[in-house]
């Protein structure tokens, strides 16, 4: 019988507890497993994507207590704070203003990097509501877009900052 645990006796010593998108979840994972894979493969949260595994592309970006973090290099055992993924910033009934700006500017092409881009943009705008071009460049340089939709990313961040400035 092809058991998911193989022939080895399985030790339940690896129960990780996390708060993700406001919910407490328990994951059965070694503490050194990167948060990205714990979220995607064990908790079924697919918003953060895998692009490189070495924190060089930003596709895996989540927020931990509001700060942008590359979940592909954060061991799940070292998570200290509340995790927010793209699923947690808004719903289809009520999109986050950044998501709405992304839609209004028609940013996405293949779309694979965009969850990470949006999370980095949210981290930026949470602290700097009306960022300059320079501040945008300095926040977003770690998020690679192979389709190079950068001009529209910039436009969407500016659009979101105008919106939030109005409210």
């Amino acid at each position: 019988m092809f058991s998911i645990y193989g022939a080895k006796p399985y030790l339940k010593a690896h129960e990780m507890r996390l708060t993700v998108n406001g919910k407490a979840i328990r994951i059965d994972a070694e503490p050194e497993m990167p948060l990205l894979w714990a979220l995607r493969d064990l908790a079924g949260i697919k918003g953060p994507k895998f692009g490189c595994g070495i924190a060089a592309c930003g596709a895996c970006t989540v927020l931990v207590d509001g700060a942008a973090v590359r979940s592909c290099v954060l061991p799940v055992g070292q998570v200290d704070g509340e995790v927010t993924t793209i699923e947690g910033i808004g719903s289809s009934e009520a999109l986050h203003p950044v998501q709405q700006a992304w839609i209004d500017e028609q940013v996405a092409q293949c779309g694979y990097c965009q969850a990470g881009q949006i999370m980095s943009a949210v981290a930026l705008l949470n602290e700097i509501p009306a960022p300059s071009d320079e501040e945008i460049d300095r926040a977003m340089g770690g998020n690679l877009c192979r389709c190079a939709t950068y001009p529209r990313i910039r436009a969407a961040i500016k659009r979101a900052s105008d919106t939030s400035a109005e409210t």
Binding site: I4, W37, L42, C110, G111, Y112, I118, R146, C147, Y150
Partner: protein, 758 residues
Amino acid sequence: MSRAGRITRRVFLGTAGAAAAGLAVGYYFYRRPFPNPLEARAADGEAVFSPFVKIAADGPITIIVPRAEMGQGVTTTLAALVAEELDVRLDQIAVEHGPAASAYANIGMLQDAVPFPRFDDSAMVEMLRSGMGIVGKFLAIQGTGGSSSAIDAFERMRHAGALAREALKAEAARRWNVEASGLTTASAAVTNPATGEELSYAELAVDAASVAYSGEPGLRPASEWKLLGRAQPRLDIEAKSTGAPIFGIDVDLPDMVYGTVRMNPALGGRMRGFDAAAAEAMPGVLKIVEIDTHLGHGVGIIARSTWHAFRAAEAVAIEWEEAPAALDDAAVWERLEQAVSGNDGSTFRDDGDVDTAFADAPRERIVEAEYRVPFLAHATLEPMNATARFRDGNLHVWAPNQAPTLLRMACAREAGIDQDRCTIHTTSLGGGFGRRLETDYAVYATRLAMEAGGRPVKVTWTREEDTTHDTYRPAAIGRFKARLGADGLPQALDMKIASPSIIASMLPRLYPSLSAMGADAAIVDGSYNQPYTIPDYRVAGIKADIGLPLGFWRSVGNSYNGFFHEAFMDEVATAGGVDPVELRRRLMANYPTALGVVEKVAEMADWSGETAPNRAKGFAFATSFGSWVAEIVEVSEDSGRIRVENIWVAADVGTALDPGIVEAQLMSGALFGLSAAMFEEINFDAGRAVQTNFHDYEPLRIHQSPKVEIAILQAAAKMGGVGEVGTPPAAPALANAIFALTGERIRRLPLAREVVFA
């Protein structure tokens, strides 16, 4: 009451040009329609109108867009082709990719695979093109590539929409006992204007599809379009802005396990042996499997998560054999130099008498240059992956891919089953750029699925595996020579381009017993087929023998010929004392479409205006995939560092079906070209790719990106492609701008070898 909507076959004729000469039998098979793949799958209460349209009695209108959505917007634009004629709004439809099927063959992709310039519409070339159309129908390759999807679908899918609309009207006419011609359609409903009565498509669908409709509805002229020709909100934009699990890497199935592969980094080399003991002992590891295929040799891991599989893969002790082509960079350049120095090539353009033109040329009238470009990786941000399940002799494969029918063939072959027992599910692609025309990621997943006891296995490659097991854009050398006349204009051009043949590399991967023969026009695509009128003009392509795996990379041969040709034309302009834009005005005088984009971009960029002391502009032009594109790049210099400030793109695509998406693709293509020009390079050592991840293969980032301005023109006689056409002029426009700024010609890419970018 529900009824299956498949009482009458609703099949669809593929389009093609006029039938060329052929056997009567061949003609019969050519004219016979492909079977409609939707019919076998139609649910109860679902009406299938064609391979492209199905309408359910309880509401949903589904349009099949059988092309890979990799960001280029086919989901929206090809659906709009149907919706325009069907008279439905885009928010009233759902779009599916649909199954792998011959009915979805891309005929348009092959019709322009004839080795003549796209703007050559002489009778002979047109006949060759329609011949390729027939071949296309026989080969019936469902593929997304060559910037061809909209061109291929333009007639066919509008026709599908029109047919379904007329069948629905006919049904309403029968129910109301009136003439169909008096009825109107809008927003998924048929209305009788005389009475105000209305019936929704959903109510009519099942009955409508069950009656043979034999009309030949005409297609509406562009002047009547409501959707086409306007920017539409993309149908996939919300999913992509909310991290929705639409990519291959997001596939999630009951009872699924995870896997990865580790194949010989010495490309093409076999595996002498491996010891999996340490890996098998690791937690979460289920099985280690040998993978031994003509596509690669190595091991596969099955585990309880992708990360467990990645870790275990590193722990397998493997003894690799050498690569059959154990080349390093020096060896590659040597072979390219040998090839370009020799005379073994094929001549694709030979106007006038080049040899005589050069024979008595005074030295000072000669311009000569040699250009070099490296191998490039595709580096799609979603790495190679596929999910496969093999159970009871049936194989299902879920994969982001650009060639479902090829995938079906290759996976069925790997599993040792008939193709009709293999189902391909095509997901959204996190980038394609030509890489996902290959089958390896799916074949390896199939192998693992055979060892997984019926459980689905999602096989994800590490980025390192992806970068080092790519099918690379080949390196190339171009040697170009011009003879100037007294007026400073080129009288003669002689171009020799050497590169390994991509199709010769690719064909055996698909059909191991076949080898490609004859000339490969891709080697000179972008140099031999540009609209310059020069009396003596010769372009030859020489195949270099470099046994590394090569593949189609966005714009293919144009990706380096654009650089070679247009960097050289800039050198010609400089040597002749002619402004580069003025040079094009003179040499392209016979091609008003070309002139249109040249003038437009020069105006956008204020080419002849004042330039600040530390700034400069460069110009380039390329026609590729049927579109005409001119670009100007502006650079600035500060403390020895160069910043790419602006790029202006003027592109004539004939008909812009969705200007918003066209603009996005032109921007993407241009920046993709700049990225490669500035930073990208794959080196080789003993047949192994040196670069492995984004710390040493560095595509363009936001802070390095110029501002982009796009103009879309629609004067060209024929519809041209969009996805790739922004790429070829980008590298030369930038290199030419750097020359204008620094006085230094850089003839080898990437430019970061010579300059520092801010």
